[in-house]
Amino acid sequence: MITLTDFLIVSAALFCIGLYMIISKRNAIQILIGIELILNAAILNLVAFGKHDAVNNSGQIFALFAIVLAAATTAVALAIILNVYRKYKTIDPDKINNLKDQ
């Protein structure tokens, strides 16, 4: 029997992995992956808690919305990363420290 706690543990693990990736990775795409992992942890939580909700499947629906939104943000982020790469010839966030127009 898989209980809610197990879901929460997996979710927490995902969150931590994501957080670690965001903090430690030197590559903007990997950071983006980390963000996605955190988002997925949150979605997993929504789905896990949705089982105990009074309204049926509301959690799953929210999760679907969230996934769509996540896809959208990811697309936007990727576009930004692409632009950043064009401008700075790097996607290491540490080295991108100059936002002003050149």
Partner: protein, 696 residues
């Protein structure tokens, strides 16, 4: 003293001052001249000629006239006024005239003798300064000034003895003379201070003059008291010291006389002083240097008690005898003369000791002439020998009488004057030496008459000494002027052209030779009492004409002297009898100058040098060691504080700086523009808040 000086007195005083000042002026002028300037000699000679003329004028004015004494306040300390002035009495005018009269021929002679010297004008600077010191010494009326000029005489003799300072021996000799004289100076200084303590004046006239307060002082009940009934004693108080100070003062005077006039314990500088130019020796021996000691005795004469006079007599007698025995065997021409000077000075001190005050000063005057002459003769001989040495490129000692001989044909004038001077030194009749020396001998015998038999030793020794004198003078003259020229025997191919020299040599020696004869001093060649000089000096004694000694002594002296002369003639000219054994104890004793130099070297010089070395060691190792220890300790402290400064003080500052830097670096990271870092720090803070919340 007298406020109303008559016109003639003023003139005399001015003449005296000028006579003293001329040589000083000449010394100053010569000092400014170039070193080789030939003018210097004539400047000095002119100055001394003027001094001589003025002295003669002063002498004519003061001799046998009331004494002349002018003084002025020199300085005041508390209530004590110290006067400086001029005291002209028979003694000082005699010396004034004598010094300038002897110095004049020496100056003229020096112009020729020093002609080729590198430092011609320096020589005359020193010589004039020497004369100035001595002339001033004899006329001052004050013991402080007297002491000052006494020192100057010593100092200028030091300069002159060491004139050829490139010779090591000359340097040694002048050092020796200077040190010996310092010993005497200490004595004189302490005597002056003691006299001042008792009598509260430095005035020579007051102390030793007609109303001598020294003579009136009393030695009673273990105290030396200045006479208090003297109404001219300003505060009317009498001062007294323990009696021992009187003896200390006497010992000081004795020491001063012994050093300056080369008496027994301190005589060794005089023979060594021969290293100076011969003309200087002649001046030192005749009038300017050694005479100062006897002059001092003459000045302070009233001070001596009978016991002290006996000590003086013993010292003079012993010196006279010892020096005469040494002179018998010396082979250095000048050294023989030096010891004969010491011997004659011994006679003078002996004369002072036995109360023959005037004879002693008389002998000083006559001795000045003939000894000066003998040295000038020696100078000519040595000069000619040096020429021989230089012309033939030989190496021998030009002063060695063993190499001379037969010079009477080559230097006829020199020979004649040497004979005159030699006879005067022996004291044969018709010479001045006869008058003065026999005076001393006769009075010595008279003095010993009323005393213990032991006192006879003194006049008898003096008598023997005068025979010894005859022998060494004869030996000297025979060796130098008679026989064969021994140098020529050694080097047969010698080129010789000896002459008596120019007029600068001839005139002085002839003049001095005339002064060695009796008419200058007395019209009766056989009686010293008729001498004007003796009469002028006689302060206390009434000459006893009836004494049998007046007949016996001169006859005895002269007969034996003639025998001795013949003996010397037989030994050294005819070579009939063999010369004395040169190995005996007495010969060695005499040849080595009684070993006095050696004893001094062992007893004084070596311990002093040892002491010096010990002190040097002590200074180097203990004193310097202590200083070095202190330095090291200070160094250690310094190093420690440097370490502390570097590591503790600076370390603390560096620590602070490092902390600030690290904190800054730490804080900077948050603002580094690194997105992830911002995120991380946010996470940490949030986590910290959570932990904080959980824990509290």
């Amino acid at each position: 003293m007298n406020n109303t000086l008559s016109h003639t007195d003023t003139t005399l005083i001015i003449c005296t001052l000028a006579a003293v000042a001329f040589p000083l002026f000449a010394a100053l002028v010569n000092f400014c001249l170039p070193v080789k300037s030939k003018v210097a000699g004539w400047v000095s000679a002119l100055a001394i000629l003027l001094a001589c003329i003025l002295s003669a004028k002063v002498f004519a004015g003061v001799w046998n006239a009331p004494q002349l004494h002018v003084q002025q306040v020199w300085f005041t300390i508390g209530n004590t006024k110290v006067y400086a002035g001029i005291l002209l009495n028979n003694l000082s005018v005699l010396m004034l005239l004598l010094v300038s009269l002897i110095a004049l021929p020496v100056h003229v002679y020096s112009t020729a003798y020093m002609k080729y010297d590198e430092r011609y004008s320096r020589y005359f600077t020193y010589l004039s300064f020497f004369c100035f010191s001595m002339l001033a010494l004899v006329v001052v009326d004050n013991l402080v000034l007297f002491y000052g000029f006494w020192e100057l005489v010593g100092f200028s003799s030091y300069l002159l003895i060491g004139f050829w300072f490139t010779r090591d021996k000359a340097v040694q000799a002048n050092k020796k003379a200077f040190i010996m004289n310092r010993i005497g100076d200490i004595g004189l200084l302490s005597a002056i201070l003691i006299l001042f303590l008792v009598f509260h004046t430095f005035d020579i006239d007051r102390l030793f003059g007609r109303n001598s307060i020294v003579a009136q002082s009393v030695l009673l009940t273990g105290h030396w008291t200045s006479a208090n009934e003297n109404n001219w004693m300003v505060d009317g108080i009498s001062y007294q010291l323990p009696a021992v100070w009187q003896y200390v003062a006497f010992a000081g005077i004795l020491l001063a006389v012994a050093a300056k006039s080369a008496q027994f314990p301190l005589h060794t500088w005089l023979p060594d002083a021969m290293e100076g130019p011969t003309s200087v020796s002649s001046l030192i021996h005749a009038a300017t240097m050694v005479a100062a000691g006897v002059f001092l005795l003459g000045r302070v004469y009233p001070m001596f008690t009978p016991t002290e006079l006996t000590i003086l007599a013993v010292m003079g007698c012993f010196t006279a005898f010892m020096a005469a025995t040494i002179a018998l065997t010396q082979n250095d021409l000048k050294r023989v003369l030096a010891y004969s000077t010491i011997s004659q000075l011994g006679f003078m001190v002996l004369g002072m000791g036995v109360g023959a005050y005037s004879s002693s000063l008389f002998h000083l005057a006559t001795h000045a002439f003939f000894k000066c002459l003998l040295f000038l003769v020696a100078g000519i001989v040595i000069h000619e020998m040096q020429h021989v040495k230089k012309d033939n490129h030989l190496d021998f000692d030009p002063q060695d009488i063993l190499l001379m001989g037969g010079l009477r044909k080559k230097l006829p004038l020199t020979f004649i004057v040497a004979i005159v001077a030699g006879l005067a030194l022996i004291g044969l009749p018709l010479t001045s030496g006869y008058l003065s020396k026999d005076g001393i001998l006769i009075q010595a015998f008279e003095w010993s008459d009323g005393k213990n038999t032991w006192f006879k030793i003194i006049p008898v020794t003096a008598l023997i000494t005068s025979w010894l004198t005859a022998f060494y003078v004869a030996r000297l003259i025979f060796k130098v002027f008679f026989g064969d020229f021994r140098l020529q025997n050694i080097y047969p191919n010698l080129k010789l052209h000896m002459r008596d020299g120019g007029w600068q040599y001839k005139v002085p020696v002839v003049l001095l030779a005339i002064c060695c004869l009796f008419p200058l001093f007395s019209f009766n060649p056989f009686s010293y009492e008729t001498s004007w000089l003796f009469k002028g000096m006689d302060i206390a004694r009434i000459a006893k004409f009836e004494s049998t000694y007046h007949l016996i002594i001169p006859v005895l002296v002269n007969l034996v002297s003639l025998v001795v002369l013949y003996l010397a003639y037989a030994i050294y000219v005819k070579q009939n009898s063999s010369a004395f054994s040169q190995t005996g104890f007495f010969y060695r004793l005499s040849y080595n100058q009684w070993y006095i130099d050696k004893i001094y070297k062992k007893v004084f010089v070596k311990p002093v040098l040892g002491l010096g070395k010990t002190l040097f060691w002590f200074d180097k190792n203990i004193i310097d060691g202590f200083v070095h220890l202190l330095a090291n300790m200070a160094g250690c402290v310094a190093r420690f504080s440097a370490w502390t400064d570097k590591y503790i003080v600076d370390g603390f500052l560096h620590l602070l700086a490092a902390m600030v830097q690290s904190i800054g670096n730490f804080a900077r990271k948050f603002q580094g523009g690194k997105v992830q870092y911002y995120l991380f720090s946010m996470l940490v803070i949030v986590l910290a808040l959570f932990l904080f919340k959980i824990l509290i």
